[in-house]
C-alpha cells in the first residue's frame, strides 16, 4: 500500500516536472520568436529601401524622399553626449552604493530608492524636465547638447542600478582577501573589481545605449525636429527614432521610409552595443583570467582533498 502510493507519487512528480519543463521552454521560445518576428517584419518592410545614398544624403519632402545622413550624425552626437554625461556618474554612484560597509546608511538607502523611482519615470517627463532645465533655464535652446544631457539624466538610474548589481555580484571573499594582502581599496577597485566586473558593466552600458537610441519622447522637446546636419552642439538635430516616429505618425505615405530608418536604427544599435559588450568582455577575460584560474584550481584541489 505504502509502496504503491510512493510509486504513484514519483511518477506524478516526474510528469509535473516534464509539463513544467515544456511550459518554461515554450515561454523562452516565444520570447525569441517575438523578437525574431519584430526584426524580420521590420527588415522585410524596410531593407529594400536602403542603399548607400539613403545612408548619406539629406531627407527631402519631409522624409518621404532623400536619405537620413544628417540624422545619423545627430543620433551619434546625442548618444555620445548622453553616454559621456551618464557613464562616469553612474559608475561612481554604483561604486559608492556597492560599498558593502555602507549599504544601510541613510544616504545609500535614499539614493537607492530614488534611483528606483527615477527609473520608473516616463520618458516624456524627462523630456519636459529637460526642456525646462536645459533648453530654457540654462539657455541651450533646442539643441543636441540639451537632448544628450536629458537622455543622460534618463538613463542614469538604469545604468547605476545595473552597474551596482555588477559590482555586488563579485564574491565577497575577494575584497577580504585583498584587504588581508594589504592591497589598498583604490588599487583593489582599479585592478581587480572593475576588470572582473567589466563584462557585467558592459551590459549596463549596452542598456544605456539601447535606451538612448530608442528614445523619442524625451528628445522631441529637447534635441528637436530639425533635419539639417548639426554644425555645433547648440544646433537642433533630429535623431533616427524621432524620424521614425514622425514618418510613421505625421507624414502620410511615410511608412516605408519609417521601416527603412528603423532597419538602420536596429543595425546601428546591434553594431554599437555589440562592440561595447565585446570589448568590455575582452577586458574582463584578459585581466581577471589569472584570478579565475586560481579560484577554480583552488576549488579543484579542495575537492581532490576530500575524495
Amino acid at each position: 500500500m505504502a509502496e504503491r502510493r510512493s510509486n504513484f507519487g514519483r511518477s506524478n512528480s516526474r510528469r509535473v516536472d516534464r509539463v513544467a519543463g515544456v511550459i518554461v521552454s515554450v515561454a523562452a521560445l516565444s520570447i525569441v520568436a517575438l523578437l525574431g518576428w519584430v526584426v524580420v517584419a521590420t527588415l522585410r518592410a524596410g531593407l529594400g529601401e536602403i542603399d548607400l545614398p539613403f545612408l548619406t544624403t539629406a531627407p527631402t519632402r519631409a522624409g518621404r524622399g532623400g536619405g537620413i545622413g544628417p540624422l545619423i550624425v545627430s543620433t551619434l552626437l546625442v548618444l555620445a553626449i548622453a553616454m559621456l554625461a551618464a557613464t562616469p556618474i553612474a559608475l561612481l554612484a554604483a561604486i559608492r552604493l556597492a560599498e558593502r560597509s555602507r549599504q544601510d546608511r541613510p544616504g545609500a538607502v535614499v539614493a537607492r530608492s530614488g534611483l528606483i523611482v527615477l527609473a520608473a519615470v516616463p520618458s516624456i517627463v524627462f523630456g519636459l524636465f529637460g526642456n525646462a532645465l536645459f533648453c530654457q533655464a540654462l539657455g541651450m535652446g533646442y539643441s543636441i547638447l540639451a537632448g544628450g544631457l536629458t537622455l543622460g539624466c534618463m538613463i542614469l538610474p538604469f545604468m547605476t542600478v545595473t552597474a551596482e548589481r555588477a559590482l555586488r555580484d563579485l564574491p565577497d571573499d575577494w575584497r577580504l582577501g585583498a584587504a588581508a594582502l594589504g592591497i589598498g581599496r583604490l588599487s583593489y577597485l582599479w585592478r581587480i573589481e572593475l576588470p572582473a566586473a567589466a563584462p557585467a558593466l558592459g551590459s549596463a552600458l549596452a542598456l544605456g545605449i539601447g535606451r538612448s537610441l530608442a528614445e523619442t519622447a524625451a528628445l522631441l522637446f529637447t534635441s528637436g525636429y530639425v533635419m539639417r546636419v548639426p554644425t555645433s552642439l547648440f544646433d537642433s538635430g533630429r535623431t533616427l527614432s524621432v524620424h521614425v516616429y514622425d514618418l510613421a505618425m505625421n507624414v502620410p505615405g511615410g511608412a516605408s521610409r519609417a521601416s527603412a530608418t528603423a532597419c538602420v536604427l536596429i543595425g546601428l544599435m546591434v553594431l554599437i552595443d555589440g562592440t561595447v559588450v565585446a570589448s568590455l568582455a575582452r577586458i574582463g577575460a584578459g585581466r581577471s583570467a589569472p584570478i579565475r584560474r586560481d579560484a577554480s584550481r583552488d576549488r579543484a584541489s579542495r575537492i581532490g582533498d576530500r575524495s
Binding site: T60, P106, G107, L138, G139, F234
Partner: protein
C-alpha cells in the same frame, strides 16, 4: 548627515558645470533689424505636428532662395505653438485650428485647409451616416451595424486622444462632449486611426481627408463616408463645401519681425502650392 549630502554632490557639481554652458550669443536681434532688405537671420517655428512636415519643406525651399536665412522647426502641438509665440520662445507658431477667443492677442495667417472625414473599413456596406447616427455611435447608443442596416457586427469606435486637433474638429462639428464618448480604441495620430480601421471590419474612425485619400490610394482597406451628402474629397474641402474641416495657420504676435512676415508671405504664395498638395492639404485661396 554628511553621507546623504555626499551622495548628491556629483549631481550638484554637474548642474553647476552646466550652468556655465550657454550657447554662443547668436546675433538674431541684429540680423532681424537688417532683414527688411537683405533677409538674413534665424527663425524658430514651433507647434502642430500636423503642420510641421509641410512647413519644414516650405522652409527648406525658402532657405535655398535666401542663403542667409536659417529656419528651425520644432513640434509639440498647436497649444505649444501658441504658448511659445507668446513667451517669445518661437517667432512663428503653427496651429491646426483657428485661434480661440482668448488667443485674440495673436494674428493667424491661414496656410491651408484640412478636411476631417469619417472612415470605415472598405468591406463595410454602409453608404452614409446621418448626424444623429454618428452621435449615437460615438456615445454608445448604437453599438451594432445591424441597427444601421448593415451586417450583424459590433461597432468598434476609434477615437483620438485628448489634445489632437482632429478630435477638436470632430467634437465641435458634432457638438459632442468628449466625456460622453464611449470609445473602444483611442489612438494618437491619423496613421494609427487608419491602421486601426483598416484592420477591423466593424471599426469607424475619423481622420484628415488628405491622409485618408492617400492611404486609400496606397491600398489601405478604408472608405471615406460622405457628410451631409457631400463627398469627402480634397476638392470639396478646397471649395469650402465640406462641413468638417480645420484651418492650418501660421501664428505671430501683433509685432512680427520682417523676416517672419516675409516667410509667411512666401508660405501662403502659389510658389508652394505643390508642396501643400503633396502634404495632402488644400492650399488657401486668397
Amino acid at each position: 548627515m554628511t553621507s546623504p549630502l555626499r551622495s548628491f554632490l556629483p549631481l550638484a557639481l554637474m548642474l553647476a558645470a552646466l550652468a556655465g554652458c550657454r550657447p554662443p550669443a547668436e546675433s538674431a536681434g541684429e540680423a532681424e533689424r537688417s532683414a527688411a532688405n537683405r533677409l538674413e537671420g534665424r527663425l524658430l517655428l514651433s507647434g502642430s505636428s500636423t503642420v510641421a512636415p509641410l512647413v519644414s519643406e516650405i522652409a527648406a525651399r525658402f532657405e535655398a532662395m535666401h542663403p542667409g536665412v536659417r529656419i528651425d522647426i520644432q513640434t509639440g502641438g498647436s497649444g505649444k505653438g501658441i504658448a511659445d509665440v507668446r513667451a517669445a520662445q518661437a517667432d512663428i507658431g503653427m496651429t491646426s485650428r483657428p485661434l480661440k477667443e482668448d488667443e485674440q492677442d495673436l494674428v493667424a495667417h491661414r496656410l491651408a485647409t484640412d478636411g476631417v472625414a469619417l472612415i470605415v473599413q472598405a468591406s463595410n456596406p454602409i453608404p452614409e451616416l446621418t448626424r444623429q447616427q454618428v452621435i449615437d455611435i460615438y456615445t454608445g447608443a448604437i453599438d451594432d451595424w445591424s441597427r444601421l442596416g448593415g451586417a450583424a457586427l459590433p461597432i468598434q469606435v476609434v477615437h483620438k486622444a485628448e489634445g489632437r486637433a482632429t478630435l477638436e474638429v470632430f467634437l465641435a462639428h458634432f457638438e459632442i462632449d468628449n466625456t460622453a464618448i464611449r470609445p473602444d480604441v483611442i489612438v494618437g495620430e491619423n496613421a494609427q486611426a487608419i491602421l486601426a480601421v483598416a484592420g477591423s471590419p466593424g471599426a469607424i474612425g475619423y481622420v484628415s481627408i488628405g491622409s485618408a485619400e492617400t492611404e486609400a490610394r496606397l491600398g489601405a482597406a478604408i472608405r471615406l463616408l460622405p457628410l451631409d451628402g457631400i463627398p469627402a474629397t480634397s476638392d470639396e474641402v478646397a471649395a469650402e463645401r465640406f462641413p468638417m474641416s480645420r484651418s492650418l495657420n501660421l501664428v505671430v504676435t501683433s509685432e512680427p519681425s520682417p523676416l517672419a512676415l516675409a516667410f509667411i508671405d512666401y508660405a501662403r504664395s502659389e510658389a508652394v502650392h505643390d508642396l501643400v498638395r503633396e502634404a495632402y492639404f488644400v492650399p488657401s485661396t486668397r
